[in-house]
């Protein structure tokens, strides 16, 4: 009757591509001192309007910082590898099924 989570799979696109990111590091007491501001992906520069969540994931000795961000309408999941200082775009969604 229904597809195997077709809606979910088409809604959140798994990307896993290395990207260029501009990060602003602030001094002082703020708990999140470094925050991504904009990044380029597929030839476009995307400005980050909201950082909706930041959490860390440890995979063995590697510590990753995961930022769930939005440009106002779309969702992006950015992952920062604190070992090699590389950024990847992991997921993208515009909120539409197709």
């Amino acid at each position: 009757m229904f597809g195997f989570c077709s809606y979910n799979e088409s809604m959140i696109e798994k990307v896993h591509e290395e990207i260029d990111v501009l990060v602003l590091y602030r001094r002082g007491g703020s708990r999140r001192r470094g925050a991504p501001q904009k990044f380029s992906w597929r030839g476009r520069v995307i400005g980050i309007q909201n950082i909706d969540m930041h959490h860390t994931v440890r995979e063995g000795r590697h510590l990753y910082h995961v930022f769930s961000v939005s440009d106002g309408t779309r969702y992006f999941r950015l992952k920062f590898n604190s070992e090699n200082l590389a950024w990847t775009l992991e997921e993208f969604s515009d909120g539409l099924a197709d």
Binding site: M1, F2, F4, C5, Y7, N8, M11, I12, N50, D52, M53, H54, H55, T56, V57, E59, G60, R61, H62, V66, S68, S70, T73, R74, Y75, R77, S93, D94, G95, A97
Partner: protein, 412 residues
């Protein structure tokens, strides 16, 4: 002697993050906000719904439903699987907020905590409802604007939890001697935390059909006729707002279960699953520096029948191969090999792993235990299942980490 309802100032607060797993996903991904979504154990049609969003609950989607049933109610429902790291991050931040208000804070599960202000009553000059509103604001401002919690305040943990369940989402209720009977009057027996259908049947058999009748029952009736144990005495006190649940239970077992996507009786497949479950249980056992003198195995069959067996052992289990061998031995005692749909392994009879009794002559198990520690160190450094028994190679995406509904050792 009959006891009255507790008339002290209510100083216990129960906080419950509404639709935790789903709200956390909506917090992270704002394109999901305002939509019916579910977080399910597996995204397959037979996957179990762990957390419907508030929007999905409005449509009638409930915890425990199958994904296919949720899709019948809402064809466009978004189905996600749990992102444990994200939920733990929210849990840890919430607990940090709560600790600002009292040091007597107990996490009850991934999305619930109890704050006891009894020992700091002197410094809490303002009403606890004001503190509760401030906590709600702090959660929204510091953790995520989409996160809502329900808060209950009572004279004991039980009434605080009842209060937290009265108005979801985003509720705030105080239960004290002035409104306790009114609150009970609006509830059914199974609305009370701790009363399941079995307990309800027991109460019904004792002539108790409503929470008000439960409250009105004498201590002797509850103790000798209904519960036939001291549990009846505890319920007598609990219902009146007296504290009986401030108890810290130490861990008595480590277990892990797996719902098979396709039921099977194939020994090769089951043997690989037993090994992976043994490795997961063993990792947790060793991380807590424990050994186990008992092992239990349980199987739910495709025909919904259940079989289980356990055994106490003369020598302790510590390394994964030891757990695996014992689990296999127990599994082999099944009377008939029927397709299994759910497999669970639990280590019990725990004891401290160290200091190990020194021996003049090295025992065979000493080497095995050292090897287990070394492999754990490798996996700690390079990631889970980097060094694994050959039997479970290629099973990285099977038997994933889950969050227990109740108390979990990772909670802080």
């Amino acid at each position: 002697m009959d006891l009255p309802i507790d008339r002290h100032r209510p100083l216990v607060m129960h906080i419950d993050l509404n639709s935790c797993f789903a709200s956390v996903e909506q917090q992270a991904n704002r394109t999901l906000r305002g939509r019916p979504i579910v977080v399910a154990a597996y995204p397959t049609p037979s996957g179990c719904v762990l957390a419907p969003s508030i929007e999905a609950k409005v449509l009638g989607i409930k915890v425990g439903m199958r994904v296919r049933d949720a899709q019948v109610i809402c064809q466009d429902i978004v189905v996600l699987t749990p992102d444990i790291a994200k939920v733990y991050a929210v849990h840890e931040r919430m607990m940090r907020v709560f600790r600002r208000y009292t040091s007597d804070m107990t996490p009850k599960s991934i999305d619930e905590a109890v704050l006891d202000f009894a020992r700091c009553e002197a410094v809490i000059k303002r009403p606890l409802t004001a503190v509760a509103r401030e906590i709600k604001t702090s959660i929204r401002q510091e953790i995520g604007e989409w996160l809502r919690c329900s808060i209950g305040i009572g004279t004991n943990r039980f009434l605080a939890k009842v209060g937290a369940g009265l108005h979801k989402p985003d509720g705030l209720d105080v239960i004290d001697d002035t409104n306790l009977k009114t609150v009970y009057g609006g509830l059914t027996l199974v609305d009370l935390p701790g009363i399941n259908t079995r307990y309800k049947a027991r109460l019904n058999a004792g002539g108790i059909f409503t929470p008000l009748e439960f409250l009105g029952a004498s201590r002797e009736t509850l103790k000798k006729i209904v519960f036939r144990s001291t549990e009846g005495h505890r319920w007598y006190l609990r219902l009146r707002g007296l504290e009986v649940d401030k108890v810290n239970f130490s861990r008595r077992s480590f277990g892990h279960s797996y719902a098979l996507p396709r039921p099977t009786a194939d020994r090769r497949v089951l043997s690989r699953l037993v090994m992976k479950l043994s490795e997961k249980v063993g990792r947790r056992l060793r991380r807590h520096a424990q050994v186990a003198y008992g092992l239990h195995i349980g199987c739910l069959y495709a025909d919904r029948t259940y079989w289980h067996t356990g055994q106490k052992l003369p020598s302790p289990l510590y390394a994964t191969p030891e757990i695996y061998r014992q689990a296999q031995r127990l599994l082999d005692t099944q009377s008939a090999a029927r397709p299994i749909s759910n497999l669970a392994i639990t280590c019990f009879a725990l004891a401290a792993a160290r200091p190990e009794q020194a021996t003049l002559f090295e025992q065979p198990h000493t080497k095995l235990h050292r090897l287990a520690d070394a492999l754990d160190a490798v996996n700690d450094k390079y990631g889970e299942f980097v060094a694994t028994p050959a039997l479970i190679m290629g099973m990285e995406n099977e038997i994933l980490e889950r969050v227990a509904f109740g108390k979990s050792s990772r909670l802080q």
